[in-house]
Amino acid sequence: MKKNNHTRELEWASSYLDQALNADELADFAQQLSQNPEISQTISDFAQIRQLVRSIPQEKPPRSYILTRQMASEARKPGILERFFPAFRTAAILCALGLIFTFILPFAQTHQPASLPAEYSKKSIDPLLLEQSSDLEFTKQAEITTAVSGSEKEPQPVSETQADPLEVRKPSHGFKGGSPKNELLMVSTRILPDDHQEEQSTVIADLAAENQAKKKSENTANPVIPSFLTNDVNFLDAILQIIRFVFIIVLGLSFIWILLTIYERKRTI
């Protein structure tokens, strides 16, 4: 403990000489200095040593060390690490950006734009056809009403098998709580293609043909996504994986090269 205190006093004496004590140390040291005259002797010795060392005359260099053009050009000739450093640095930046891009790209492809027409969606029902089928139902009801009230023909008994085909084809199936339009939505797929009534079939067929023509004209204006793209998603993914792999390899190599160059620079300075 005493030895440690002595070492600390000596260190403070040395630092005091160089004005390297902070305020607290200086206050403590001043107290020690007043109590221990040996410290002032030590400071005096250190001051003398410093003066002697400082008084050693500077030796004149034996020659001038000015660099000639040749020496300078040879010295600045970069090594292999330095020569390829800019290329690897650029490659690292580009690969990092490319890698980020390859991770963003798949998200951009899977996102469906809001403006895509409804008919491109798999489960959509043509609203136009739906509207027309509603009109058709209304017409049918009117025809039935007319037939019942003012027909010349005698009313025929209706058997279960001869029941109104529309009624048979369009049972409620217990759809509750929805609007009639929603109910129609539920059964619409059954009504339209399988209509056995000749008149209705003709009308619906006409409507379908008309709709198809409309769709065709719209599709010409807004072409549907080519099928080969959707079919070859796996192929594109594979390509993307390969590109990522190449980027990672180049990035790794570039990092190693950059680290080696920096280490070499630090080592020589």
Partner: protein, 204 residues
């Protein structure tokens, strides 16, 4: 750092050899003497000085500080340490100055100021020889710190940065260097015989 030096540094960084050579002229004495004190060998100091300036020119683009002197001295000290390590691995020449007869040179004539009178020369010759010998006897890490702080008057933090050591190491190395110098100079009778000592006694 004055404006002229900062301009020279900027131009040297841009690859201007003339600007760099002006910096060489300004600092070559300090660099050579630093190498000489660490190596105790004028030939080695000569080689190291040239190597240090070439290395500085090579890495001028990586210069980030605001003063050239600590940077070039750091390069010099590193070059000295490299040379000392090389000599330790392949000991061919002694580190101490030697005469032609391969005896230790205690005169240290290279330290004497040529402008002094004969009696002063004799006095200074003895003192300088003693100081040089005592400095030479220090381990190089103590010698380096003593030189950076007592000769070049760097502060502790600058010295710590230059040799990449903590501040505490610098303080303890400096203390040990001074204590060893005191013991050595006392043994040679130089510490109490000089005029400086009398002054110091009067002061105390």
């Amino acid at each position: 750092m004055d404006l002229k030096e900062s301009k020279l540094i900027m131009r040297a960084i841009q690859g201007n050899l003339d600007a760099f050579n002006q910096l060489v002229v300004i600092y070559q004495t300090a660099v050579y003497n630093t190498a000489l004190r660490i190596m105790n060998d004028s030939e080695a100091a000569d080689d190291i000085t040239q190597t240090a300036f070439i290395s500085a020119w090579q890495h001028m683009e990586s210069f980030k500080g605001d003063s050239f002197k600590p940077w070039i001295l750091r390069i010099t000290i590193n070059a000295c340490y490299d040379e000392i390590r090389r000599l330790r691995r392949h000991p061919s020449t002694p580190l101490e100055p030697v005469t032609e007869e391969n005896e230790e040179n205690e005169d240290a004539v290279w330290l004497i100021d040529p402008n002094l009178q004969p009696d002063e020369v004799s006095l200074q010759k003895d003192t300088m020889a003693a100081v040089a010998e005592c400095m030479g006897s220090l381990p190089e890490e103590y010698r380096t710190v003593l030189m950076l702080i007592d000769v070049h008057e760097f502060n502790y933090q600058d010295a710590a940065d230059m040799i990449s050591k903590p501040l505490g190491t610098i303080k303890s190395r400096l203390l040990r260097a001074r204590l060893r110098m005191r013991t050595c100079l006392e043994s040679k009778g130089e510490l109490y015989r000089s005029q400086n000592r009398t002054d110091n006694k009067d002061l105390s």
